[in-house]
Point group: C3
Chain length 480, copies 3
């Protein structure tokens, strides 16, 4: 038997380039490799993400390759959808009750046959990394080897060393944060806490469902919120106390941060009377779009004030136009790859919050952006002067080699390294976590090497900064 | 006789660097060269441009070097004008009846004496390429050799092998699209069709003159439009039918696309009643600026619906502030280098069209931009999920090495390669076409080489992608 | 005695890399070095900056290292402040009468202990350059050597060769411009003129205090303005004449330019009647925010018209949100690092001025930006066609290696080199001037080298352009 073309290719791809993502010029490459050598084995700090605490609580095996890699990952299925493949063919669950594919092997085949669509994307990078390093599958995926790859990975998943807790340990995760709504009872976190397993899985307080008047069922959410907090959350005073109560509850499960996903970066600082009136309108569902925006903006300032009381780090993730396609929202629901970044302004938007609490030394506000044009123009200058502000790592479409490189090039000269907070993987895709951190470490080391070889940083400093960016700053910024 | 400085310089410039636009690091350079070797001889697919079909119909010689390279090229004369040289001195035709230079040799001398102004611009790149490869003029142009260069090129132009059809064949053009208004009778295209020449010159449907209420003479245009289409185009129903009719007529001359040059990317999806009322206002010239904008936006959705019927690919070229200088518009008319890009938003602007037809598999909408900030933030995320959307290549000021590089760096990670459509030269400058495609091939190969040497793509894949970007995707996306 | 870690590091940092900021690939690096060799000794042309003319008038020694490097430099103290160090601890003078640190050695120690915060920032680059080349201090600054470094630099400052005029000569400054308000009597400039010293220190006309209705004390400023100009500046006619008069006075002290620091790039071209009415409102303090903006915008057009009369070059520095923090403004006053760039539009904003005077050959308007997204999209296309427009060098947070590189990459292809104006240091930090010009020369040479090695520019041309960017264009553009 002779090797076919796709097999020849697969052989060419059998190893991950040990120098990948480093500069190609020899001196810079070698220095990047040396810097990377010093950080590649450091534990993973994952202070912001979307893994499911149930995995660690129950420690059941992951179902199969398609359910692990394709069905839940909007990075993956959006690319396939953009090239004319139906979401239902990819097994994406439907909101409208119609049928979706349930044969995971068929789903996997469609994915494998279209693997070329991911060329030069971060998804490809981490998928290859995961197949290779985690599962020991070293051929390049294609339609030809789809079934073999499926079987290989499925076999692995059935083994105890591929259960969530074992992977957690294999990934060398020191701490990971999930994200929960205040309406969540944190039962999985309780189950983890009460287990004999010592993995550090913490939660983060994400109150959008009880802060955003535009959320479906806002009033009902507030009712439930009050019930959980044992407060009358339908009064402004009780509502704020309910937040305090739930934040404390989240802290008891390790939370060190809150997180806020708003359509823009607007903040407001209203009088209690005005805020209270708006809140009542929100409960009645009579807020205009502008009033809902004002209310969300004001709540960021309220959250910042509570952070001053309880020490939670405040994260702002603004600027996504959610669920851009109405038909897809109706048929498949939220989070289906149709969240599109929009232009986001920070300078005027953040000012009310900054006027209220911007100079406080005990408050930490971490800013994210989906609008890279704000990095050099607005975010680095703001973080380079306001004590409360730090810059989060590249987010979403930008947690990629080019995105990470541009982030450093656009922020470092004005904000330095020490107004940044290390890396977040921000992912639902558990197997991607080591690959994502590896990419971040490589890109940072490449950047540091280029600073050294162009005479902008001393080599010993580069080693120290590599350590800081990989490990120390994330722990410090998130108070871990 | 000793060599003067300018002659010594000219010798230094006598050859084009065979490795130009490749990375300088050896391994990446050699790989880029190998990738380029595989695509450099591929035929040119030119699915969008502004060459004059009359050239190919009549096949007359081009007049002289100045009329070929300077007088019709706003990239060239705008740069000279910016440094204080009058447009009239450059022979640019006037709209106000005043005199303009008609001595082509004098025009050429002014250009040659100021050739240093074009250093490191794309104009310089393609001019040098064209002088060297097409005309065999291998000295760097300057005031000193202006007359010699003029004579040399003028001699060439008089020869049969420099006539339009001969050049078309020499350039290895498989297909080229011109752009015409629905008001055009396509007589030159008919003459080409009826000739014994087999060059594939097709048209594209550019209906701005009958879609934009702000165009001078809109109502008269609609009259003429109806006459050509044998429809009463002054009714909404008849107007739409006239579009259908003229699109079919354009298709009979090979058209596979329509093209729309709007001031922004706004789309609307009005009821027939509202659209019809706006159309009547437009005919009466009573639209407000906002209403005209709404009408243009709605017509994009109408055109998309017709594309679903007839298969034409829809191209959107938004965001140019046309004829920025009133005095120049008055003295010299349109297209005199005063079209300036403006900030352009896509996420909200395109939504009405996308809600109407964004998930259709039989529709293809190609987006262009003059606002690069939208590439990573808006356009790649949109094209990376909506089946109808594809990203056009860098346009206008960005069809340049840096512009092309940034395009790939900002779009590939989110949209991949397969939501892009290969290269367009988009030019009126016939002699620049081989050079422009050569630059695009080189820059894409350089980018692909850097992906391989940084471990982000396998070498065999890079060869395949190079072929796709050069040839296959343009044919596929434009249905050629 | 054995070397401690910090001493070992200091040794590692004992020399400045002679190839710093050049490409790392050998051929490009060597070419960059050759280009740099040709320009590194050229005199400094500093046509825009904020040094204090009193230094050169009195020629007194600089006080001490902290007063020289830290206290007056908002780049330096803003970074320390962002990491929780009080401005008062850094000796920043207060506006509210409270205490600030006056012990310069203590201030210096805080700075030295936190020197790592400046890693990879332009401040670090020029501080290292200055310590090393100017003061002969070759260890890397740290808490450990803070006192030694302080003493070393303080000793230097006491010597005659470190007095302002001696440094001016040592820096090889051919001409430097300061910036003064029309309300300034230019007494220090008079003292310089009347001295026996021949250093060329000129002024620039910066009329914000009498042009911006939002300035505190606007009406009082106009009174003082009229008094200095011997005009009744409270009438529109007299006000314009007062400008003419003061511009002439500034010209008698060498001024060749005016400078305008507006919140945006808006221009207007009002009728005299409307302008006069707005001016009367401004005097009464009854302008709305919009009216104040219109007035500022109109004054740019008036200044442009006066430039046509008197030949001053018009500089526009738009887009900074000044004094973003109210509490800091109250406690410490203006210019405390809280000026934040904002998104800035040019295409529509500049049009009224350009319609009025944009095609004049005897007018020169130099545009600066804090919004890099405008470079390729708006500024290069505008400067690449309007004869009056030139692009100023990267400003403020962008006078950095990455900022300078992006500037060239984003403007050259459309505007060429000859619509740019060389380098401005734009600094208050006298000792940073040689370092800043050195960085600009290095980055430009690196860029030119990369153009040559990628086949986009001939080597002899690169040498010529290096000279132009370093020396000739600044003199030409500023009419020096």
């Amino acid at each position: 038997m002779t090797l076919g073309l796709s097999q020849a290719r697969a052989v060419a791809s059998a190893t991950l380039d040990p120098f990948r993502l480093f500069p190609t010029e020899r001196r810079s490459r070698d220095l990047a490799a040396a810097l990377y050598d010093g950080v590649k084995e450091l534990p993973i700090i994952s202070p912001h993400g979307h893994t499911d605490p149930r995995w660690f609580a129950e420690n059941e095996p992951f179902a199969d390759p398609a359910q692990l890699f394709i069905v839940p990952d909007h990075y993956v299925f959006r690319m396939l959808f953009s090239q004319g493949i139906d979401l239902a063919e990819l097994g994406v669950p439907r909101a409208d009750g119609n049928l979706t594919e349930t044969d995971s092997r068929k789903i996997w085949r469609v994915f494998a046959e279209n693997y070329h669509l991911f060329r030069a994307t971060p998804s490809r990078t981490w998928l290859d990394h995961s197949f290779h390093d985690l599962f020991g599958w070293t051929e390049r995926l294609s339609g030809d080897n789809a079934d073999q790859a499926y079987d290989h990975i499925a076999d692995c998943l059935a083994r105890p060393e591929f259960r969530p807790r074992a992977l957690f340990e294999r990934f060398n995760i020191e701490v990971i944060s999930t994200t929960e709504s205040p309406l969540d009872d944190l039962k999985w976190h309780a189950m983890i806490r009460d287990s004999d397993w010592n993995g550090r899985v913490i939660t983060a307080y994400r109150p959008d469902a009880v802060v955003d008047p535009d959320v479906d069922g806002f009033a009902a959410n507030i009712e439930a919120f009050g019930a959980l907090a044992a407060e009358d959350a339908t009064t402004w005073h009780g509502y704020l106390n309910a937040h305090r109560n739930r934040r404390a509850y989240f802290k008891s499960f390790g939370a060190t941060s809150s997180d806020h996903g708003h359509p823009n970066a607007r903040t407001e600082n209203l009088s209690a009377t005005t805020a209270s009136e708006l809140f009542q309108k929100a409960l009645k569902g009579t807020c205009t779009a502008e009033e809902a925006d004002v209310f969300r903006g004001h709540m960021l300032t309220e959250m910042a004030r509570m952070s001053l009381e309880d020490g939670l780090v405040l994260q702002i993730h603004p600027g996504s136009f959610r669920n851009h396609s109405g038909p897809i929202l109706q048929a498949f629901g939220r989070d289906k790859g149709f969240d599109i970044p929009t232009r986001t302004d920070y300078v005027r938007a953040l000012r009310p919050l900054l006027e209220a609490v911007g100079l406080e030394k005990d408050l930490s506000v971490i800013l994210f952006t989906l609008d890279e044009t704000a990095y050099a123009r607005e975010l680095a200058p703001l973080a380079g002067v306001y004590p409360v502000l730090k810059l989060g790592p590249p987010w979403w479409f930008y947690d990629s080699p080019e995105g990470m490189r541009r982030f450093r090039e656009m922020t470092t000269e004005t904000a330095g390294f020490y107004n940044t907070v290390g890396f977040n993987d921000d992912t639902r895709a558990f197997c991607s976590i080591p690959a994502r951190h590896d990419v971040a470490r490589r890109v940072d080391c490449a950047y540091l090497a280029s600073l050294v070889t162009s005479g902008r940083l001393d080599e010993d400093e580069a080693h120290e900064v590599a350590y800081d960016l990989t490990y120390r700053l994330a722990k410090q910024a998130y108070r871990l």
